[in-house]
Point group: C2
């Protein structure tokens, strides 16, 4: 892990324990991907500019589509979890509250869209970057790029909605 982000808290690590079992990003799912998303450094330091989030993930050999390339389902999963994580962090920011403070501000995906613009090579670290195209109290839209070696391989959009109480939101 980059030294610069060691002292930052991942959005997903701030989820309450009982909402941290997601296969894509839950810290309590030992078999899952445990994706971790952060504010980009200039945001974390409060330097302003466009609000931006990032995550890094290196797929395993088994996450193959055609040999040499990452399967689309994993790419969709990473974009999905980076989107809902970014939405949660943005909701805390908008509310002027500390990340993870109870009651939890947790978001789920209403709609996910992924454009596969180039084959994603396997065995290298992927970088996800999220920006925000709409921010409302109950609906946040996150636009995400997924890159390998600095080249965008997929562009996605997550329409995240505040988790309904029927799903266990506190």
């Amino acid at each position: 892990m980059n030294r610069n982000i060691m002292n930052l808290t991942a959005f997903q690590d701030a989820y309450p324990n009982d909402l941290s079992h997601c296969f894509g990003c839950g810290k309590n799912n030992a078999q899952g991907h445990q994706l971790k998303s952060y504010w980009s450094l200039d945001q974390a330091k409060g330097e302003g500019g466009e609000e931006q989030t990032f995550a890094k993930f290196t797929p395993q050999a088994c996450h193959t589509a055609i040999p040499g390339f990452v399967y689309g389902g994993l790419i969709a999963s990473l974009i999905d979890c980076h989107g809902t994580g970014s939405a949660s962090a943005m909701a805390y920011k908008q509310a002027g509250r500390a990340l993870g403070e109870a009651p939890a501000l947790r978001f789920v995906t209403g709609k996910l869209e992924v454009n596969f613009v180039a084959p994603t090579p396997i065995g290298v670290e992927l970088t996800l970057v999220g920006t925000f195209s709409e921010i409302k109290e109950r609906k946040i839209i996150v636009d995400i790029t997924l890159s390998a070696h600095g080249k965008i391989c997929a562009k996605g959009q997550v329409i995240a909605v505040k988790m309904p109480s029927s799903m266990g939101a506190v």
Copy 2:
């Protein structure tokens, strides 16, 4: 597995061996989901009507989002692989060729869209049904529903494009 489909070949099982490593649906990926898609029975019997495909999959306990529900990344993955598999089968049908006959007609996803219309319960068999809204030689659009207990939980669309030779198509 339903007795009625035991004698049918899954689309993905007809992929050539070197294109059968996908984590979502490859028969040669021991760690993957091994999703298997089929023509709906009336189609397989040549009874006509709207062309329709189906697949069934039961997520494991680890495939959790919020406890009790399936994580969106798996749902996206199932829709993705059912879409490209259905596209391949349709391409063979359109060409008047037997499923799996060389040279392979293999499709990859250009764009994936998933609408999560209701939380998907975990621990039950899910059913995917695919229909076709556009059929061209190099581009096939598959519309897919994912249901649990007969209730639609997600609606997706896969824009499948014929695999480019750069990805290993034969």
